[in-house]
C-alpha cells in the first residue's frame, strides 16, 4: 500500500474536510486557543481573524505542526498530529512571505515541492511545468526566482502549492503586494483551481472584500475562540432585513427624503448618502420607490439590506 493511501479524500458532503471540536492550545501561560470549533466544507473557505487572535496557531495545527491540548481536530478524516506526514502529503501550502530561494529556477522549485509531496520525479517534472503554465508563468519558468517580481512570486507560490494535486490547498495572504489588476487575476486563478480542479482552498486574508468576493465559507477566529463560522451566505444574510437606497442628491435633500419616509411610518437610518429603511415586509421597496418618485429623486443604488462581511467581522469581535 503506498503511503498516503490511508488518506481518503472525502467525496460525500457529509464529511467536512476539516473539523475542529473544542480545540485548545496554550504556550506556557499564554492561551493561544481556548475553544475553537468549526467545519470546513469543500470549496473556498476564508479564515479571518485579528492579528494575534490564534489564526496562525490553528492553521499550523491543521498541517500537524502543533499538538492540541484538548478537543478534536480532524483533517481529511485523520488527526493531523498523529498522521502529520499523510495529511501534509495531501495538502498544499503557500506561505505569506515572499522570500523564495533566489538562485533556484521556478520550475526546479515547483518540481522539488511536488516531489516532497510524494510525486515520482517524472510526474513532478511534467506537473511542475503544467502548474506554472496554469498560473501564467509558463514562459518564465526557467528564471531564477530571485529575479522575479512580487506578482510572479505570488504565482510561483500558488503553483508549488497545487503542483502535486492536493485535496486542500492553504493560501496565506495570496494577494499581498499585488496591484488591483493582479489581485483580480489571482482571485480568478484561485477560483479556477477550486472550481475546475476540485481542490478545496483555505484562504487566510485580511481583506474582507476579497474574502467576500470568492469564498463560499468563512471561519472567524478571535481571542482564541471561533467567533463565527458557516457559509458566507448564511453569515451575511442573517437577520438583516429592509432596503438600502442611495439617492442622487445633496445632504439636505437626503435628509428631506428620510423625513418623508419617516412621515409615512418607516424607520430609517442615514449613513452619508445611503438611507436604510428597516422592515421585514417587502412593502418597504414600494415605499422607497414611491417616495423617490414623489420627490423626483434619482436612485443611484438600491438593494436588499445585507450585512457586509466587515459588519459580521467587527460585530463578532464585539
Amino acid at each position: 500500500m503506498p503511503p498516503g493511501a490511508g488518506v481518503n479524500v472525502p467525496n460525500s458532503e457529509t464529511v467536512p474536510l476539516v473539523s475542529a471540536r473544542n480545540v485548545s492550545k496554550s504556550y506556557g501561560s499564554h492561551v493561544a486557543l481556548s475553544d475553537v470549533s468549526f467545519d470546513i466544507e469543500p470549496g473556498i473557505t476564508g479564515v479571518l481573524g485579528a492579528n494575534g487572535a490564534g489564526k496562525t496557531t490553528i492553521l499550523g495545527m491543521i498541517i500537524g505542526l502543533h499538538k492540541s491540548d484538548g478537543g478534536q481536530l480532524q483533517v481529511l478524516e485523520q488527526d493531523p498530529w498523529f498522521a502529520g506526514s499523510d495529511v501534509r502529503m495531501r495538502l498544499g501550502y503557500a506561505p505569506e512571505h515572499h522570500t523564495l530561494p533566489p538562485t533556484m529556477q521556478a520550475a526546479d522549485f515547483v518540481q522539488h515541492v511536488a516531489e516532497l509531496h510524494g510525486l515520482p520525479k517524472t510526474e513532478a517534472i511534467t506537473r511542475s511545468s503544467d502548474a506554472l503554465w496554469l498560473v501564467g508563468l509558463g514562459e518564465e519558468r526557467f528564471r531564477p526566482m530571485g529575479s522575479m517580481s512580487t506578482g510572479q512570486r505570488q504565482r510561483v507560490k500558488l503553483a508549488q502549492a497545487i503542483a502535486h494535486d492536493p485535496a486542500i490547498v492553504m493560501l496565506d495572504e495570496p494577494t499581498d503586494g499585488l496591484d488591483p489588476v493582479q489581485r483580480d487575476a489571482m482571485l480568478d486563478l484561485i477560483r479556477d483551481v477550486a472550481e475546475r480542479f476540485g481542490i478545496s482552498v483555505i484562504l487566510s486574508s485580511h481583506l474582507l472584500e476579497e474574502v467576500e468576493q470568492i469564498c463560499d465559507g468563512v471561519v472567524i477566529i478571535g481571542e482564541g475562540r471561533t467567533l463565527a463560522s458557516g457559509s458566507l451566505d448564511s453569515l451575511v444574510n442573517s437577520e438583516a432585513t429592509g432596503v438600502v437606497v442611495e439617492v442622487d442628491a445633496d445632504d439636505r435633500a437626503v435628509a428631506a427624503f428620510a423625513a418623508q419616509l419617516q412621515a409615512r411610518g418607516a424607520s430609517v437610518t442615514i449613513h452619508q448618502r445611503r438611507v436604510t429603511i428597516e422592515g421585514s415586509d417587502d412593502s418597504v421597496f414600494d415605499l422607497a420607490r414611491d417616495v423617490c418618485a414623489d420627490e423626483g429623486l434619482g436612485i443611484v443604488r438600491m438593494s436588499r439590506r445585507r450585512l457586509s462581511l466587515e459588519d459580521v467581522f467587527l460585530e463578532s469581535l464585539g
Binding site: 503506498p2 503511503p3 498516503g4 493511501a5 496562525t56 499550523g60 498541517i63 505542526l65 502529520g84 506526514s85 499523510d86 501534509r88 502529503m89 495538502l91 501550502y93 506561505p95 505569506e96 512571505h97 522570500t99 523564495l100 530561494p101 533566489p102 538562485t103 533556484m104 529556477q105 526546479d108 522539488h112 515541492v113 516531489e115 516532497l116 509531496h117 510524494g118 510525486l119 515520482p120 520525479k121 517524472t122 510526474e123 513532478a124 511534467t126 506537473r127 503544467d130 502548474a131 503554465w133 496554469l134 531564477p144 508549488q160 497545487i162 502535486h164 494535486d165 496565506d172 480542479f197 476540485g198
Partner: protein, 312 residues
C-alpha cells in the same frame, strides 16, 4: 508519464459521412494541469528528493555559474594532489614511486580543502533554508524537523565523502594500473576497505561540528567563517595547552583535524607522521572521542532546530 486525454467530440460524425469528408481526422486534447491519481512516494520519496535537492544546492547545480564556483574550486583543490601523484607515478622510475605519499598520508595534503568544504557546504545547506523560507516549505511537506535534519545530514555526509574518499580511491586505482598498488586481490580489497572506512571517519568528524555551528545562525557567511576558523583553532589551541600549558594530553581529543587524522592512521595501522599532534591514547578512546563529537554536535543541531520558530 501522462498521456493526453482525448475529449470525445460531442457529435462524432462518421468518417464515412460523404457530406463531411474530414470528420474523424481531428482530435482535441485536454492539455495542461489536471488531477493526479497515481501513487505517492511518501516520506521516503520526500527524503530522497530533499537529499538530491541539497546536493544541487551545495554544489550550485541547476543554478547560475557563479553559484558553482566556490564548491567546485574546493573539490578541485582536494583532487589536485592525487592527480599530481598519479602523474608522478607514471613518469618517475619505479624506485621513486615508493617515495610518493601513502594513501593515509594523502589526508595531510588536503585536510584544509576538506574542512573548507565542510565549512562552506554545511552553512550553504542549513543557513540558506532558513533565510529563504525553504525550511517552512519543508515543514509543510510530509517531512518534519527530524526527517528534514536526517536528510540534510545524509546529503552533507555523502558530499563530504566526495573529498574524503574519492581522491584516494583515484590514487589506488591509478597506482594499481601502474602495478604500484597493493599486491594480491586480498590486499587490494583490504586497502580499498581501509580507504573507504578512513574517509568515512575523517568526513564524519568534520561533518557534525560544522553542522552544529551552521545550526546556530541563519547567516551563512558567519557560519562559514566560524567553521573555517574553528578547525585550525581547535588544533592550535589544544597543542598550546598540552605543549606549553602542560595540561593533560587527553585534551588533544578536542583537536578536530588531529583526531580525524589520527583515526585514519590507526585504521591503516601506520605510525603517524604528524608533527603537530601526538596521540598516545588507545584507539578506543579516539573512537569514543569521535562519537562524542558526533553526538554532542548532533545534539546541538537538534536543540537549535527543535525550538526554532519557522517563518511561514
Amino acid at each position: 508519464m501522462t498521456t493526453p486525454n482525448p475529449i470525445v467530440p460531442t457529435s462524432p460524425a462518421s468518417p464515412a459521412d460523404p457530406a463531411n469528408p474530414i470528420a474523424g481526422t481531428a482530435q482535441i486534447f485536454d492539455q495542461g494541469y489536471r488531477r493526479y491519481e497515481g501513487e505517492r512516494t511518501g516520506v521516503a520519496g520526500a527524503m530522497s528528493s530533499l537529499v538530491r535537492a541539497t546536493w544541487r544546492q551545495a554544489l550550485g547545480l541547476k543554478r547560475q555559474t557563479r553559484n558553482k564556483l566556490i564548491p567546485f574550486m574546493i573539490i578541485v583543490f582536494a583532487f589536485v594532489p592525487a592527480v599530481v601523484f598519479v602523474g608522478l607515478a607514471a613518469l618517475l622510475p619505479d624506485d621513486f614511486v615508493n617515495e610518493l605519499p601513502t594513501y593515509v598520508e594523502y589526508y595531510g595534503f588536503v585536510v584544509a580543502a576538506i574542512y573548507l568544504f565542510a565549512a562552506f557546504v554545511s552553512s550553504a545547506i542549513l543557513c540558506e533554508d532558513r533565510r529563504t523560507g525553504m525550511l517552512g516549505v519543508y515543514l509543510s511537506s510530509p517531512l518534519d524537523r527530524r526527517t528534514y535534519l536526517a536528510g540534510k545530514a545524509i546529503a552533507f555526509c555523502t558530499l563530504l565523502f566526495i573529498v574524503t574518499i574519492l581522491p584516494i580511491l583515484l590514487m589506488l586505482l591509478a597506482y594499481s594500473l601502474q602495478n604500484a598498488g597493493p599486491d594480491g586481490f586480498g590486499n587490494w580489497i583490504e586497502t580499498f576497505a581501509k580507504i573507504v572506512l578512513s574517509g568515512v571517519a575523517f568526513g564524519l568528524v568534520f561533518a557534525f561540528p560544522s553542522l552544529a555551528v551552521a545550526s546556530t545562525t541563519d547567516r551563512w557567511v558567519v557560519a562559514t567563517a566560524t567553521n573555517a576558523a574553528m578547525f585550525p583553532a581547535s588544533a592550535v589551541v589544544t597543542d598550546l595547552l598540552v605543549g606549553e600549558g602542560n595540561l593533560t594530553p587527553h585534551l588533544r581529543l578536542l583537536n578536530i583535524p588531529g583526531l580525524a587524522r589520527e583515526l585514519t592512521f590507526r585504521i591503516f595501522n601506520e605510525p603517524q607522521a604528524s608533527l603537530w599532534s601526538r596521540f598516545d591514547n588507545p584507539t578506543w578512546t579516539l573512537v569514543l572521542a569521535a562519537l562524542g563529537w558526533i553526538l554532542v554536535s548532533g545534539g546541538i543541531v537538534w536543540a537549535n532546530y527543535r525550538r526554532l520558530l519557522v517563518r511561514r
